[in-house]
Symmetry: C2
Subunit: 413 residues, 2 copies
């Protein structure tokens, strides 16, 4: 009987494990951190699960948080520095999205998996471990974030950068009123970076996640460096100062008396070098290891696509395991083919947002004036493949605008 | 407004033209033969349309022949030469298939296209013509069978042969009673070739198509050489003689008084070299030409997959044209990716049937004893991608058998 080993217990490892468990395929998850360590650890990310991911969660019976109650349905956009007054506009989703602190989410899914009879083995995860795990399973799916650069080679054409394009500071804060309607706010401060502001559900209940995407050497870069634990008051003051200057439509919702990071573990600073790696490798055992999630594609969090893409990839791999007749190279090629448009879409679109070309800036200008175009762009957070279809060239973007706002296209054309 | 030129009016050219017409995309079909020339010409093929193709025909409103009345739902198999007595066994489809003489079918679809307002331009079709057509359209889809070797290069890894693997004789005959239940009969004469016997609807009404697939230098090869018009009586006698010796379960249904080819135009002899070509090429105009149908993939007719695959490809291309934002190289790559598993499945599976490996012969043996396995193989005539998933390696075929007949797998395993 086919047996699957999953190295890594992030969203993709757990979604795949739960999917296979639901279909009675023997599966073991290996990870280097217990649920308790995750729950009590440092902030892991601040990411929204979009409708396609929530639909898979419902199918897996792991929809513990109702998106109608805890979620959001709009993107509020503010662009500062391109016109005398900030541009403010909004795009609506067709279905709500949802942000849950992964220190609640992942331990809950680990518990679900174990309560349904699954085994999670706690051990170090590295390429040598994958070779060992491979001896006990017909396939190993590698869903671990770090340490696999040597196992899955970067695809040069899809990996244009050698360093992070943003220096990041993600944190959970009290004292920021939600916008009306509740939504994720996407703020751009031209030349300095972006702020992604999200309504997050965490151990304190509902709060606000602020993900500062700081352009190296821009005015907000300091946010990636200052240490909360050295001087919490100074940290909060610096954040407020940058909010006021660069992100006024967030700043105006701050309640100064209560504003501040919710605690020293609720901050994550650093940076990610975007990369797409080869889909699979043949191991010393003769069996195959398939890369999934961050082991396959690392995208900057600016679009919040990494987790959703990882979950999508888990679904592709899960369905292929259940349907196919072998876990050989043909299987691996099928997985690669079936997820390519989606994963490449995430990567290409995200890289364009980090270093926008003129046609993207023009699109943002059109979105600020024509809500149907902004709605389509927003809804495409569920369809990164289609988003990239609309963004890859100036001609494509013009056609995207024309489709969603024919009058506009005639006027600007 | 996007405008599409289609070079070729076979099944794929017409299905694509009708699909685009249905969605108000401007489209022109170019072909070198009029409907009347086709209707009065030589036999074009003898191919069954399977359920997925019939479903598309229904959606296009071109289902002029009811599959429930004119179709068939089973494959009768006979294998001679591997056991003392012929192996006889049967596989059932989930939905009926249908064989219509293309001299009725194609002119009817041309008439549908024109009656709905479409334009068919009669002109020579060659690479120079495609360059010319490209000046009037945003995309040219090349669906012509011959003369495009220089435009779309063969993919070496998918084109293993330099010559036909069977010498063919396809004809329409009176005097062969249909089997019970009505179905296509797949006869194998080990070492000599195959006979595909099909209930066909043609201008005479219902008759029988006999497609002799003759291995070069085998005993039946003469069927590809003898000329009906030289001596109809001798031709029919030779066919009968080969039927009696190699295909007894067809011979036993012959009514000798009425047996014979239905007319001098109802025969097609020759051979096809299997090839898969590149999906697209950039033309001198800067626009792209996409290969479809025989311009993209030529498969021997032994599995009857060419027309169905061409229709599938037309649907992929049609949907991509309607959905995508440009007809650029990214569009062409999308088409290539989305049809690859299906088209490669047709090619790889068909090539394996022409030169079977031991695991295919073992599968046929299992099919002869275990109808669920034969039913699954039969139903996969609708899913050549899945068929190849089941046939690519001995391990995969063993897993296919195990899935559809667990007891058998245990017994032979």
């Amino acid at each position: 009987m086919t047996s699957i080993g999953i190295a890594g217990a992030g969203i993709s490892g757990l979604h795949l494990g739960l999917y296979l468990q639901q279909r009675d395929v023997p599966v073991t998850i290996y990870t280097d951190r217990t649920a308790e360590q995750l729950a009590n650890g440092q902030l892991l990310n601040t990411v929204g699960h979009h409708h396609h991911t929530l639909e898979r969660e419902r199918a897996l019976g792991i929809d513990h948080w109702d998106a109608a109650e805890y979620g959001y349905g709009v993107h509020h956009h503010t662009v500062v520095g391109v016109a005398p007054e900030p541009l403010r506009f909004r795009g609506d989703f067709e279905h709500p999205s949802l942000v849950i602190d992964y220190r609640l989410y992942l331990p809950q899914l680990m518990q679900d998996f174990e309560q349904r009879g699954g085994t999670i083995v706690i051990r170090q995860i590295d390429p040598a471990a994958v070779e060992q795990i491979s001896r006990c399973h017909d396939l190993v799916v590698v869903a671990a974030g770090r340490g696999f650069s040597g196992m899955f080679s970067p695809i040069a054409a899809k990996s244009p950068y050698s360093r992070p394009q943003r220096r990041l500071s993600a944190g959970i804060y009290d004292g920021v009123r939600y916008p009306d309607p509740v939504g994720v706010s996407l703020h751009i401060s031209a030349g300095h970076g972006e702020l992604i502001e999200l309504p997050i559900t965490c151990r304190h209940g509902r709060a606000t996640a602020l993900l500062f995407e700081n352009i190296p050497e821009g005015d907000t870069e300091v946010l990636a460096d200052i240490r909360y634990e050295h001087d919490p008051g100074a940290f909060n003051r610096t954040v407020l100062e940058k909010l006021e200057r660069h992100y006024p439509s967030a700043f105006e919702r701050v309640e100064h008396s209560s504003f501040g990071l919710t605690g020293p573990s609720d901050i994550l600073q650093g940076g990610l070098t975007p990369v797409v790696r080869e889909d699979y490798v043949r191991l010393g055992s003769g069996r195959y290891a398939v890369a999934m999630g961050d082991a396959h594609c690392v995208a900057d969090p600016i679009n919040g696509q990494g987790a959703n893409s990882a979950s999508y990839s888990a679904a592709v791999i899960g369905q292929a395991i259940v349907e196919d007749y072998a876990l050989d190279e043909q299987f691996c090629q099928r997985v690669a083919r079936e997820r390519q448009a989606f994963v490449y879409g995430v990567s290409d679109w995200t890289n364009l947002m980090l270093n926008p070309e003129p046609h993207l800036l023009e699109l943002i200008g059109v979105m600020s004036q024509h809500k149907p175009v902004c709605d389509a762009f927003t809804q495409n957070f569920n369809h990164p493949d289609r988003q990239w279809d609309a963004l890859a060239t100036p001609e494509r973007t013009a056609a995207f605008i024309a489709r969603h706002s024919p009058q506009t296209a005639a006027a600007v054309g």
